[in-house]
């Protein structure tokens, strides 16, 4: 059985994002103010992929939060949910490691996981939880299906975003990492889909429609 785990994931790329901002601002002048002396102005060596890395990291944090919020997907899907969550932790670590290598001047400050409802979870159909959940609080079949569908949608959305981002980054290392992470998320979506089909739906196609793009 898969239990909810609220794991406080450390490190928010605040400095990374700040550095991106500095990088953007460094290229801007208002035209009226004094022009900074290039010999004395700080040169914030921001990697061109810093923004993509930060966004990828946010996606992983949101997915981790989504799995934590989901709590349990019910029997049958627990294996894939456990596995997917563990993978997202590995993705997060890999992304942070790449960020550290590419922008060694940056350090990560500890922070809590994203607050509030999971931003990775797309709004689904109206919840039936209020009427379907018995007094014991045990998830019903309806709950489990809805949760798994939302996780599936979150994985698919993240995979699509990652695949798109691959085209925009400059570093081969980052491209490859983003592609691997997106492929992993597409696998999670497939496993969740097939698990749902097996546990609850049946007679759906053997491969999910629109999987991985």
């Amino acid at each position: 059985m898969w239990h909810s785990r609220r794991v406080v994931t450390t490190a928010v790329p605040a400095l990374l994002l700040a550095a991106v901002g500095v990088g953007v601002l460094a290229g801007c002048t208002d035209g009226d103010g004094p022009t900074p002396d290039p010999s004395t102005a700080p040169s914030p060596q921001v990697h061109p992929d810093a923004g993509a890395i930060a966004t990828a990291r946010e996606r992983e944090l949101a997915l981790l939060s989504a799995y934590d919020d989901a709590g349990t997907t019910g029997p049958g899907l627990a294996d894939v949910a456990d596995e997917a969550r563990a993978h997202h932790e590995l993705h997060l670590r890999a992304i942070e490691a790449v960020a550290a290598r590419l922008t060694p001047a940056l350090t990560f400050s500890p922070a809590a996981a994203p607050s509030g409802p999971s931003s990775a979870l797309p709004s689904g159909p109206p919840s039936t939880t209020a009427t379907a959940t018995p007094a014991t609080g045990a998830p019903t079949r309806t709950d489990a299906v809805a949760l798994a569908r939302r996780l599936l949608a979150a994985e698919r959305t993240a995979a699509d975003a990652g695949l798109l981002a691959v085209g925009d980054v400059e570093s081969a290392q980052v491209r490859r990492l983003l592609a691997e992470v997106a492929a992993s998320e597409a696998q999670h979506a497939t496993a969740l889909y097939l698990g749902l089909r097996e546990a609850f739906i049946r007679r759906a196609p053997a491969t999910p429609p629109g999987a991985a793009g």
Binding site: L90, L163, R176, A182, H188, A206, G213
Partner: protein, 170 residues
């Protein structure tokens, strides 16, 4: 948990298909995509080769995957042509990578191909321009979903059906 690679492949070492070796002689820039195309040709050949050993459920899945590979082959071929390259042609025949004697070995042969394709596409992600690396990334993900579907159809379990970094395996 037993890893998918362990379950499916056991001690079998990955081989380099002749078509892949041939593609490796091409310029670096598109080598990954050319290697992937050579493997797509092999994949299109593989399903009919091993199909007789599959049960009905796995055969249906293999047919879907085969259809995907035909589309993928054409897309990669078109992309290479558009990039000014001559796409590698299919070989007259392909040896199946593992001796196929039953359903399990038939599925493992298909999974081997998907894993080889994932590695080729992962390398191709470094391709320029952006449209080609997006294609490579998309097809890496697609092959990843094939591997997951095959694992689940064969093992009848979700556990171990996905990878954190699919082209590297478990």
């Amino acid at each position: 948990m037993i890893s998918r690679r362990t379950v499916l492949l056991g001690p079998i070492a990955f081989g380099v298909a002749p078509a892949v070796a041939r593609a490796a002689a091409q310029p670096t820039q598109l080598r990954g995509l050319e290697a992937a195309l050579a493997l797509e040709h092999e994949a299109v050949h593989a399903v009919p080769s091993v199909g007789a050993r599959l049960d009905d459920a796995t055969k249906e899945l293999a047919r879907e995957i085969d259809a995907h590979h035909r589309v993928q082959r054409d897309r990669v071929s078109d992309a290479l042509r558009a990039a000014g390259r001559t796409p590698p042609a299919a070989l007259p025949s392909y040896a199946v990578r593992v001796p196929v004697v039953d359903r399990d070995t038939a599925v493992s042969a298909l999974v081997l191909l998907e894993e080889s394709l994932m590695r080729a596409y992962a390398e191709a992600v470094e391709t320029e321009p952006a449209s080609l690396r997006r294609l490579a990334a998309e097809l890496l993900a697609r092959c990843g979903t094939h591997a997951t579907s095959l694992h689940i159809a064969w093992r009848r379990t979700l556990a171990g059906s996905t990878d954190a970094f699919p082209s590297r395996g478990h």
